[in-house]
C-alpha cells in the first residue's frame, strides 16, 4: 500500500500535504486536481505534514485534494534512444507532447518502446557480473551503447543467459541473471536511477590529464580543459556566455554532448534545435544532433523542474560514462538553478544566507561538480564527464555567492569581461584573470608534450607573460602618455595586441575561423611567438602602431582563410616579407 495524503496548504508551488503513512525526503508524489495529476517532490517533513514542491503551476488546486506517494525519488529512465532527444527537466520527451503550448500534468515516456535495436551480446552464460557490467551492446547513432546490469543491483550475480545477436525492443528480455540466493532476474535494455544520487560504477577517479579539444583558441591554447575536467564561465549578460558555450558544444572532441538549458532563454534552445541537425561534428563528420541530448527547462518553465534539470542531465551523462564514453556536459546557467533553490528556501521560510540564497549552496554546488570526472571502469575501460557550467553573476559582480561557490569547485575559470565585450573582442575571456589548474598537473604537461610538442607549455607561458607585460605597459602609457614612455614599451604593448587579435580573438560566426583544430593552433602560436621574439627597432611610436596594425590585419586574414590554402600561404608570405623588411633595415 502506498502512502496517501490530502492537501492542507498552498503557497505558490509549495504545497503542504497531510499524509497517512511513511514518506521519504525527496520522494515523488502526484497531486490530483481536476483531471490532471501534478508531479511533486517532498522537500521537508514535519510530523505528518509533508512539504512538497510541485513541478507545475498550482492554479486552481484546492485544500483536500488527494495525493499519492510513489515510494521512490525523482528518477530518469536510461536505455538506448536517449540521443538526439529533447527533454524537459523531468525527462519528458518534448516532441511527444501535442499542441503548441505545454499542458499541465502531461508526462511523456522518454524512450521509443517500439524501435528495434541491433543487439550484440558481450557477456555469456556463467559470467560473474555486478552493477554496471556490460551485458551487450547496441548501436545508437554510431555509438556503442552498452546494455548494463542495473546500477541498483548489489553484490555479485551470475549470468544465466543472454539472448543471441538480433533485433530487440527496449522492453524485450535480453538477459537473465541469478543472484547469490539463486533467484533468477530477467533484464531488459532499460533501467532507472534517482537523479540526485551520484552513479559510481567505477573503481577509481584519477586526476584527469588528456586535453579536450574545443577548437576555441583562448581555451585550448591559453587555458585548456581536459577530459573529465570541470570549468565554469561567469560573465555579465551580453558578454557572450551562450555563444561561447554553443561553440564548445559544437566543436568539442567528445562522443556525447548533453546540454542542459536551465532557466535560460527559449530562443537559444531553438537555435540548437535548428542548427544541430544541420551542422556536422568536425571530428566524425556526422550530424551534431546525433551525439547530442538537450534538456530544455527554459526560464518560463516551472521553477522546481529547473532545479531537477541539471541533475537529470548529470545522471544521463553518468550513464554514458559507464559505457566508457567521453561525455561533455554543459549547463546554462547554474545561477538559475541556484535561484530555483533560493525561491524554494524562501517559501520554506528557512533562515537565508548571503543574498537570500540557502546556507548550503556552496555544498550543493561542490557536490554537483564533484560528479564529473575521468574514471576507470571495473572492466578496465575509461570514461569521462567534462562539465562546463555558466554562471550569471548578479550585476556582473564576481563576488556573489554562486560565482564564489563555483570558483571553489571548478578547476577552470573562463572569466568573461564586460570591457572586452564592449570593445567587441570576442570571445571576451579575460586572458589574465582566467585560469586552468590543469596546466600545473605534471601528467598534463607530459601528455601535451607528446600530443602537440615538447616546447608547447613553454610557448604558452611565454605568451601569457607577454600578455601580462602588455597590460602593464598599457597602463603606464595611459598614465604617462604615448611619448612619455620609450618606444620599446610600445613594441611590447603591440606584441601583446598581436597575441590578443590573432590567438585570443576568434570569430564564432565565421565558417573557417570558428573552428581552429589543434595543429592549426600550434602553427599560429609558433608564428605569433616568432613575431613576439623578433627584435624591432622603430624610431617613433606612430611607426610601431602603423606597422603592427598592418601585421595584425594580415594575420587576421590568415585566420579567415582555409588552413594551408593558397590564400593562407599567400598571406603568410606577405607577413614574412613584412618581417624580413623590418629586420633587414637594421
Amino acid at each position: 500500500m502506498s502512502t496517501k495524503g490530502k492537501v492542507k496548504g498552498i503557497i505558490s508551488n509549495l504545497v503542504i500535504v497531510t499524509v497517512d503513512g511513511p514518506v521519504a525526503q525527496n520522494e515523488i508524489c502526484y497531486i490530483e486536481t481536476g483531471n490532471t495529476k501534478l508531479m511533486a517532490e517532498v522537500i521537508k517533513i514535519i510530523g505528518d505534514n509533508a512539504y512538497v514542491q510541485v513541478f507545475e503551476s498550482t492554479r486552481g488546486l484546492q485544500v483536500g485534494a488527494e495525493a499519492e506517494f510513489m515510494g521512490h525519488m525523482l528518477e530518469v529512465t536510461l536505455g538506448p534512444g536517449l540521443l538526439s532527444r529533447n527533454y524537459d527537466g523531468l525527462q519528458n520527451d518534448l516532441d511527444k507532447m501535442l499542441g503548441v503550448f505545454l499542458k499541465r500534468g502531461e508526462y511523456t515516456f522518454p524512450l521509443d518502446e517500439e524501435k528495434l535495436w541491433d543487439f550484440k551480446p558481450l557477456a555469456k552464460a556463467g559470467d560473474v557480473v555486478e552493477a554496471g557490467s556490460w551485458l551487450g551492446e547496441v548501436d545508437e547513432n554510431f555509438q556503442p551503447h552498452k546494455i548494463m546490469v542495473p546500477f541498483t543491483f548489489q553484490g555479485q550475480y551470475t549470468v544465466k543467459s543472454v539472448v543471441t545477436e538480433g533485433q530487440y525492443r527496449i522492453f524485450d528480455k535480453i538477459a537473465v541473471v541469478t543472484d547469490s540466493e539463486g533467484k533468477d532476474i530477467e533484464l531488459n535494455m532499460t533501467q532507472k536511477w534517482p537523479v540526485k544520487k551520484a552513479l559510481t560504477c567505477y573503481t577509481e577517479k584519477p586526476r584527469p590529464f588528456r586535453l579536450l579539444e574545443t577548437g576555441v583558441r583562448t581555451i585550448d591554447t591559453a587555458n585548456p580543459i581536459v577530459e573529465g575536467g570541470t570549468g565554469f564561465i561567469p560573465g555579465p549578460f551580453g558578454t557572450g556566455k551562450t555563444v561561447l558555450q554553443h561553440a564548445i558544444s559544437k566543436q568539442a572532441d567528445a562522443n556525447i554532448v548533453i546540454m542542459a538549458a536551465c532557466g535560460e532563454r527559449a530562443n537559444e534552445v531553438v537555435e540548437i534545435f535548428v542548427e544541430f541537425p544541420e551542422l556536422t561534428d568536425p571530428h566524425t563528420g556526422r550530424k551534431l544532433m546525433e551525439r547530442t541530448i538537450i534538456i530544455a527547462n527554459t526560464s518560463n518553465m516551472p521553477v522546481a523542474a529547473r532545479e531537477a534539470s541539471v541533475y537529470t542531465a548529470m545522471t544521463i551523462a553518468e550513464y554514458y560514462r559507464s559505457m566508457g564514453l567521453k561525455v561533455l556536459l554543459m549547463a546554462d546557467s547554474t545561477s538559475r538553478w541556484a535561484q530555483a533553490l533560493r525561491e524554494m528556501s524562501n517559501r520554506l521560510e528557512e533562515l537565508p544566507g548571503q543574498d537570500a540564497f540557502p546556507m548550503d549552496l556552496p555544498a550543493i554546488i561542490a557536490n554537483f561538480y564533484g560528479r564529473a570526472g575521468y574514471v576507470h571502469l571495473k572492466n578496465g575501460a575509461t570514461g569521462s564527464i567534462t562539465f562546463i557550467g555558466t554562471v550569471s553573476p548578479a550585476g556582473g559582480n564576481l563576488k556573489e555567492p554562486v560565482t564564489e561557490s563555483t570558483k571553489k569547485a571548478a578547476r577552470c575559470f573562463f572569466a568573461l569581461e564586460q570591457a572586452r565585450a564592449d570593445r567587441k573582442r570576442y570571445p571576451a575571456v579575460n586572458p589574465i584573470d582566467s585560469y586552468s589548474k590543469y596546466i600545473e598537473y605534471p601528467e598534463f604537461e607530459e601528455y601535451i608534450a607528446k600530443r602537440i610538442s615538447p616546447d608547447w607549455t613553454k610557448n604558452v607561458n611565454e605568451m601569457k607573460t607577454l600578455l601580462q607585460r602588455g597590460k602593464e605597459v598599457q597602463e603606464q602609457i595611459n598614465i604617462l602618455g604615448d611619448d612619455g614612455v620609450p618606444v620599446d614599451y610600445h613594441v611590447t604593448f603591440w606584441k601583446s595586441e598581436v597575441i590578443d587579435f590573432v590567438i585570443l580573438q576568434q570569430d564564432a560566426f565565421d565558417k573557417i575561423d570558428s573552428v581552429c583544430p589543434i595543429d592549426r593552433q600550434q602553427f599560429m602560436l609558433n608564428l605569433v611567438m616568432d613575431i613576439c621574439r623578433t627584435k624591432f627597432d622603430f624610431s617613433s611610436f606612430t611607426d610601431v602602431m602603423d606597422y603592427f596594425k598592418r601585421l595584425i590585419n594580415i594575420c587576421k586574414q590568415m585566420n579567415y582563410s582555409e588552413y594551408q590554402s593558397e590564400a593562407f600561404n599567400g598571406y603568410l608570405k606577405e607577413l614574412n616579407e613584412m618581417l624580413t623588411l623590418e629586420t633587414a633595415q637594421k
Partner: protein
C-alpha cells in the same frame, strides 16, 4: 461538495494588511479571483481553512465584515476581434467609454509554448533608426527592452519603432504611465491613423500600483489571441517594467517574504521571465515581439531589475545623449541585439556584420582617444581621425532621428571609413573591402 464555492458569501475577515486580507473559507482554488466589497482580489495563500487574498486596489476602507465572494476562476480576458482599437484597465474593462467586449473568456497568464514547437525568429523588423537597424537589428519574436533613465525619450522612440515596424497588431501594456504619456500614445496612434491596429491596457499613476501586476498578462493574452488564432504579427509594448517589478516587491514585502538583492523578491527572475518568454515565433506564422522599457536609476544596470531583465531579454537598447553632436543616440557599446545574427548578412547585405563591428571598434578607439585628450596627452594622427569619424558616425548613424533604409546605412558607413581611414585600419575581410570600399 454540493454548493459551489463562488455562490457562498463570507463576511468575517480575520486579518487585514495594506495589500492583503485573510478569512476562513473552504473549497477555494489557488490563484482564484474573489471580490472583497466589490474590490477584485486573488488567492495567494491557502493554509487549511485560512485563505489569504491579495486585494489589487489596496485594502483601504475594507471592514472586517466585508462581503467576500469567490468567483471560481483565475483572472480572465474576453478575446475577440472587438479588442482592436480599444483601451482597457488592468482588469480588462473598457476605459474609453465604449461597450463591453463580447468573446471567448480566456485565463490570463496561461501556459508556456513547448520549446520544440517554437520556430527560430528570422524576420528583420526594420525601424529606420540606424542605431537599431545597423548595430542592433530587431527580429520578430524577439524580446528587448530599452534601458533608459526616466528623463530620456524612450516612449517616443518606442512609439516610432511601433509605427514603422510592419506589425498587424500593436498591444500597449502601460504600467504606471503618467496620464500625459498615456495621452501621448493615444494621440500618436490616433494621428497615424492606426488606432484599429492598437489594443491598450493601461494602468496610470493614478491607479493603485498592485493592479499593474495584471497588465503584462492581459496584454500578452490579447497578443496570443491575435498571434495564435489569427496568425498575426503582434508587437507588444510594455512600459515601464521597473514599475511592474516595484509592485512585485510591494506584494512580497506585505507577505513577509525575505527580500533578496535590492529588496526585490527572490523570484524576480522567474516572474519577469514568465512575461518576456511569451515572445515567440509560432509555427503557423504568427509571432509575438516584445519591446519593453526598464527605467534605470542614474544609468545603473547592476540594480536587480535591469540585471535580471538583461539575463532574460535578447539584448537591450541604451539611449544616451551625445554632447558632441547634441543628440540622443543609441549607445553602440552597451546596446545589443542577440538575435541580430539571425538576420544580418542574411536578410541584409553580406557586408553588414563586418561593417557593424568595424565601425563600433573604431568608435571605441575614438573613446580611447577622447580619454587621452581629457587627460591632456597629445593625440596621434590616427586618434584625430577616429575622433572625426566618431562625430560623423554619431550624427549620421547613431542618432535616433535618423530614418533610412539598411543598405543606405551600410553605404554611409563605408563612406565614413574611406573618408578617415585606410583599408588596413578597419580590419575587414579583403573581399568585402574590394567590393564596397568607397573610392
Amino acid at each position: 461538495m454540493a454548493t459551489k464555492a463562488f455562490q457562498k458569501i463570507y463576511t468575517k475577515i480575520t486579518q487585514i494588511t495594506k495589500a492583503t486580507c485573510s478569512l476562513k473559507a473552504t473549497g477555494v482554488g489557488y490563484d482564484e479571483l474573489a471580490t472583497v466589497n466589490g474590490k477584485l482580489a486573488q488567492v495567494v495563500k491557502i493554509m487549511g481553512e485560512d485563505v489569504t487574498l491579495q486585494v489589487f486596489e489596496g485594502t483601504e476602507g475594507i471592514p472586517t465584515n466585508a462581503e467576500v465572494i469567490f468567483l471560481g476562476k483565475a483572472p480572465t480576458l474576453k478575446v475577440s476581434n472587438q479588442l482592436a482599437g480599444r483601451f482597457f484597465n488592468a482588469f480588462g474593462d473598457p476605459i474609453d467609454g465604449g461597450p463591453e467586449i463580447e468573446g471567448e473568456e480566456r485565463e490570463i497568464g496561461g501556459p508556456s509554448v513547448n520549446p520544440v514547437r517554437r520556430r527560430q525568429p528570422s524576420e528583420l523588423i526594420a525601424t529606420g533608426i540606424a542605431g537599431i537597424d545597423l548595430n542592433n537589428s530587431l527580429v520578430s519574436g524577439q524580446k528587448i527592452p530599452f534601458f533608459a533613465d526616466p528623463d530620456q525619450p524612450f516612449n517616443q522612440v518606442m512609439a516610432s519603432v511601433a509605427l514603422r515596424a510592419k506589425a498587424d497588431k500593436i498591444i500597449l501594456g502601460g504600467m504606471g504611465l503618467t496620464n500625459d504619456d498615456y495621452l501621448y500614445f493615444k494621440n500618436v496612434f490616433n494621428n497615424a491613423g492606426v488606432l484599429d491596429r492598437i489594443v491598450s491596457f493601461v494602468n496610470t499613476t493614478e491607479n493603485p500600483p498592485v493592479e499593474r501586476l495584471l497588465i503584462p498578462d492581459q496584454a500578452l493574452t490579447a497578443a496570443e489571441y491575435f498571434a495564435v488564432d489569427h496568425n498575426e504579427k503582434v508587437l507588444v509594448l510594455l512600459t515601464d517594467m521597473t514599475l511592474y517589478a516595484d509592485a512585485l516587491s510591494i506584494v512580497s514585502n506585505r507577505m513577509d517574504q525575505i527580500p533578496s538583492k535590492d529588496s526585490m523578491p527572490g523570484s524576480l527572475y522567474s516572474d519577469l521571465a514568465k512575461i518576456y518568454e511569451k515572445a515567440v515565433q509560432f509555427p503557423a506564422g504568427g509571432s509575438i515581439t516584445i519591446i519593453a522599457v526598464t527605467t534605470l536609476s542614474g544609468g545603473d544596470i547592476t540594480h536587480a531589475i535591469p540585471d535580471n531583465t538583461g539575463y532574460i531579454t535578447e539584448g537591450q537598447l541604451f539611449l544616451r545623449r551625445d554632447s558632441d553632436v547634441g543628440k540622443v543616440i543609441v549607445d553602440p557599446f552597451r546596446s545589443l541585439s542577440r538575435l541580430k545574427q539571425l538576420v544580418i548578412g542574411k536578410k541584409t547585405r553580406e557586408d553588414h556584420p563586418q561593417v557593424m563591428n568595424a565601425a563600433v571598434r573604431l568608435y571605441a578607439d575614438a573613446a580611447n582617444a577622447k580619454t587621452k585628450l581629457e587627460n591632456g596627452f597629445d593625440l596621434t594622427n590616427y586618434d584625430e581621425r577616429t575622433l572625426s569619424f566618431a562625430k560623423d558616425y554619431s550624427e549620421k548613424i547613431l542618432a535616433i532621428d535618423v530614418n533610412i533604409g539598411t543598405e543606405e546605412m551600410l553605404n554611409v558607413t563605408w563612406g565614413l571609413f574611406s573618408n578617415y581611414f585606410k583599408p588596413e585600419e578597419v580590419n575587414i575581410k579583403q573581399e568585402l573591402v574590394d567590393r564596397y570600399w568607397a573610392k
